[in-house]
Symmetry: C2
């Protein structure tokens, strides 16, 4: 594979312009100390030859790639790609480029990705991946790669983190629910297999809130698939005619409310549904979904800003918490009118 062959090098530019490579280097790095005349001459040569500096060689010489590694399980979820977009936007504004490391839900793969992150020489990393635990983060960090971890409370010399307040918000929702004078309806937590840390923490919060109140609750397992969840619940609603369901994401929540509707039940009068990870689709499906909301674009931006500060030893607050806001829409009974 002779891809990168016949690239014009700085040396050829120097020769063609009749100067030394040091001078060319100075020109492309705009480090003064070059006569106007030679600068013009060199720039002209650069354009004529179509010279583009090799980022590789620059990185090797300066110990700086302009790469940020982003470690995610998959780019395939709306909320993750939203975050990716936020990261990307501010990364670009700061002259960084993103390198993607996807781990696809297996710890083994995640671990091999860590190795890859290290050899790849990123200037910093943003991790949003449930497969990676504190040890893994510290490992990549031990190669002095400044790191921002999303959705995991890890801090360190060169590690900052962003967390979410899902648990607290969910607890409040549970308490509010049972505080309603009329509401004796049992709450059901819809657990999806491999839902990751966020779901796990929500489930824990859900259960602990019920235990505190000494109320019965239920946990149902479903696949992380709209259509399978839909058919499961079509079945479910043949026997059960009501409930308040806490589902992981919009598509799962939508599956439940669609199944309920198709079973002739009324949402929210009979069946209430609430989505934990809300996206813009919460507003599009009918009835619109009551959902927790975190602006993942903002999360991405924040992560990148924090990382940038961290790289310049400038990050004062190593931990930042995003509030998960409950946006009440039409899939739940709304008290406060």
């Amino acid at each position: 594979m002779e891809n990168l062959k016949d690239r014009v090098t700085i040396y050829q530019v120097a020769q063609a312009a009749g100067v030394s490579l040091a001078t060319v280097s100075r020109v492309i790095n705009k480090q003064g100390n070059v006569t106007e005349a030679t600068r013009i001459k060199v720039e002209e040569t650069i354009n004529r030859l179509g010279y583009k500096p090799s980022g590789l060689a620059q990185a090797l010489a300066t110990n700086k790639t302009t790469n940020i590694g982003v470690i995610i399980p998959s780019a395939n979820y709306v909320y993750i790609s939203n975050m990716l977009n936020g990261i990307s936007e501010v990364a670009k504004s700061k002259g960084f480029v993103l390198t993607l490391f996807t781990t696809s839900h297996s710890h083994e793969e995640a671990y091999s990705m860590i190795e890859k992150v290290i050899t790849t020489h990123v200037d910093g990393a943003i991790i949003f991946d449930d497969e990676l635990d504190e040890g893994d983060v510290m490992k990549i960090n031990s190669y002095s790669v400044p790191t921002i971890v999303v959705n995991n409370k890890i801090q360190g010399d060169k590690v900052g983190c962003i967390t979410f307040s899902y648990s607290e918000t969910l607890k409040r929702v549970v308490f509010d629910h049972y505080a309603r004078p009329d509401s004796l309806r049992e709450m059901v937590f819809v657990h999806v297999h491999d839902g990751g840390r966020l779901l796990y923490k929500c489930e824990k919060a859900f259960i602990s809130a019920h235990q505190t109140l000494n109320k019965p609750y239920k946990v149902i397992n479903v696949d992380d698939s709209y259509s399978r969840t839909y058919s499961d619940f079509v079945e479910y609603f043949k026997n059960t005619k009501e409930g308040i369901f806490v589902a992981y994401r919009d598509s799962i929540a939508a599956a439940i409310e669609n199944a309920a509707t198709d079973a002739g039940l009324r949402v929210p009068e009979d069946v209430e549904v609430l989505s934990l990870v809300g996206t813009k689709y919460a507003n599009i499906v009918r009835p619109t979904l009551t959902a927790f909301h975190v602006d993942m674009i903002e999360v991405g931006k924040r992560a990148m800003y924090m990382l940038s500060d961290l790289m310049q030893h400038n990050l004062l607050e190593k931990s930042y918490k995003f509030e998960a806001q409950l946006i009440r829409r039409n899939s739940t009974i709304n008290d406060e009118k």
Copy 2:
């Protein structure tokens, strides 16, 4: 920024193991010609010191990064992140990593990204970006970067492409529509600002089909936003009580059908809607959306496979066309029962 400082180098490993760096290099590259004994000794030292080879230096020496550049307008659309996922999956299986170049809808930015792609030294590139025209593609290609272009028919020595059959499928839909004995209803093309090449081509196909049939048609402009389109159409349906709408993406189509429903019109009896870029959400909204469908994960995989072949001078068919399939659901009147 002394990020990458104190990394263990191959030289230190060599010294600690009491061999030359050449030997260490042989070990990490598994290029035989090393005694079992020394190999073990070296491997032990590598682990003890936590040595990880520098991808940068390797790339510089071998003229091979293991990086694929992916140029997209933004990771924020479902169909793009689907494609990204497909690319990512096969890239990983082939030992490549993805570097993201996002262009955010401006030709100027897109152009500066090209420069960045070149300096970044990717082994290959996949471009899905309407801002980039043939000249731009050829420019990055002139630096001998094998390239696959998605949604643009460009071929060359080291350029392959993937195209879609939206235009043909859409024309067929239009013809079929007017072939219905009862159907005199006017079709409306919903144009979104900055919709890109795909939308543009669809619009052209839509218009040309109507001209061929000598039928009247309408084009409406909306913003690429669910909520604004929704309110626009709430307004619209105050006067107009029917229509068949061809919309760019699910969220726009959903806005129209929700507006229609909320205006008391029946979908599909009064108002029919059809989405050009269908995603899984076409199946979730109600009524379910008739939509064109292309499996973007497959597109991504295909693109990466083609690129891999191209890099090995092994790509026989430089052009591949994905069929846009019309999936009829409940937002249109379905003839064939």
